[in-house]
Symmetry: C2
Subunit: 235 residues, 2 copies
């Protein structure tokens, strides 16, 4: 824990509407240019530049210059988890008018680089239930049986191991239950996207910071994932 001053300084970085809009947009896991983020936040380029500079300075966002573009992304999973949690808190503490996405958003979505929503927690529970993942220092680790089944599904375990953390919990605000983060969570999500078991909305971007996080489960995905992990998602 930190001093109240440091706590407030970090929290204040998220506490302005333009920065909040930017961070929510970045929660899709994509890297975005300063211009896109300015449009998402509904402000001018100079203001956006200043906000982004503060987010970078504060360690919440990292920047990767490429040519004349500057791509921004969330610095760590922890940042994503905190935004996710605050979004859930704001949702139930001051439920004004809901965001247009509503139910669909609770079914399946991206949380930074891994799966969240009902799908995310069902996968987490399935991994534990079937003994494919067991508690380990720092979070979870796949069991031998789990490694075999995950590899069989097409999950790149070597890539998962290269992450800073192999597997850990991330609080799911809509289900109030943990879903899987860490390298394994990332590779599981990548696998689902690669094999078209879930798909992003191919919609336009623009003012809507959340649309890019929504996922739909394909019929094929519902079948394969349901069989592998032993659940049936009610829609």
């Amino acid at each position: 824990m930190t001093t109240p001053a440091a706590f407030a300084a970090t929290t204040a970085l998220m506490a302005e509407p333009p920065r909040a809009a930017m961070l929510q947009a970045l929660l899709s896991g994509e890297a975005m240019t300063a211009g896109e983020l300015a449009r998402v936040a509904g402000i001018g380029a100079p203001a956006a530049s200043a906000h982004l500079a503060r987010l970078v300075e504060g360690g919440l966002v990292t920047v990767h210059p490429q040519g004349r573009h500057r791509y921004h992304r969330l610095a760590t999973e922890d940042v994503a988890a905190a935004i996710e949690m605050l979004g859930g808190l704001a949702d139930r503490v001051a439920p004004p008018r809901r965001w247009p996405h509503g139910e669909a958003f609770r079914t399946a979505r991206l949380c930074y680089d891994h799966l969240a929503g009902r799908l995310g927690v069902a996968l987490h529970a399935g991994l534990v239930d079937r003994g494919w993942m067991a508690p380990a220092p720092g979070g979870w680790a796949p069991t031998p049986a789990g490694e075999a089944h995950l590899a069989d599904l097409g999950v790149d375990l070597a890539a998962a191991r290269s992450a800073r953390r192999l597997a850990c919990d991330c609080m799911d605000w809509s289900e109030r239950r943990a879903h899987l983060a860490g390298g394994l969570g990332r590779e599981l999500a990548a696998c689902c996207l690669r094999r078209h078991w879930v798909s992003r909305l191919s919609g336009q971007d623009g003012g809507d910071a959340l649309a890019r996080r929504r996922l739909t489960i394909t019929p094929e995905g519902a079948r394969r994932l349901g069989d592998a992990f032993g659940f049936r998602l009610q829609p």
Copy 2:
């Protein structure tokens, strides 16, 4: 999730040093009067009153008038979980100078009304490992075997069931791993305190918002809990 405006409004409630100090102090689970909180935050009574009014208005804090005192506490577990998580984020995103508690704080502490730190995650893992708790809609539920053993330890299961949520994950910022929240988490903590397996620091209060959250594990507690849940805490 909510609109960026609502997100920012809720987040801004935590983003000022005085309010952050108050919220951190309330994270001990105790109810505190406006005057105490003013002292903790280092500001005058009028300013404290205004801050508390905003926190109540925003749904983060509830107030219970008793005589000429007004007792304040965190409104829900969700609020506590969010503060916990932001504290951890600030700690690793901008690690300036550590708070004087340091290591001891990571061993065992209160998070609102349940146990956190190494002890909290060890209990969570132990419950799952031994099959005393299994995934259930909305979080976890004790198994028949678990009910027997928990009752045997002295946990009041009836009281646990009366809570809004029986048992769910709460992210532990220092261990980066879930510990147990919900009614069961609360009763487990109450049991440990009642039986003197852990004890609060009997220190003075005052400017230190965190001291009241620290817990020490008694020798008796280390033995009983270690035997029951199968872990050994290295100090």
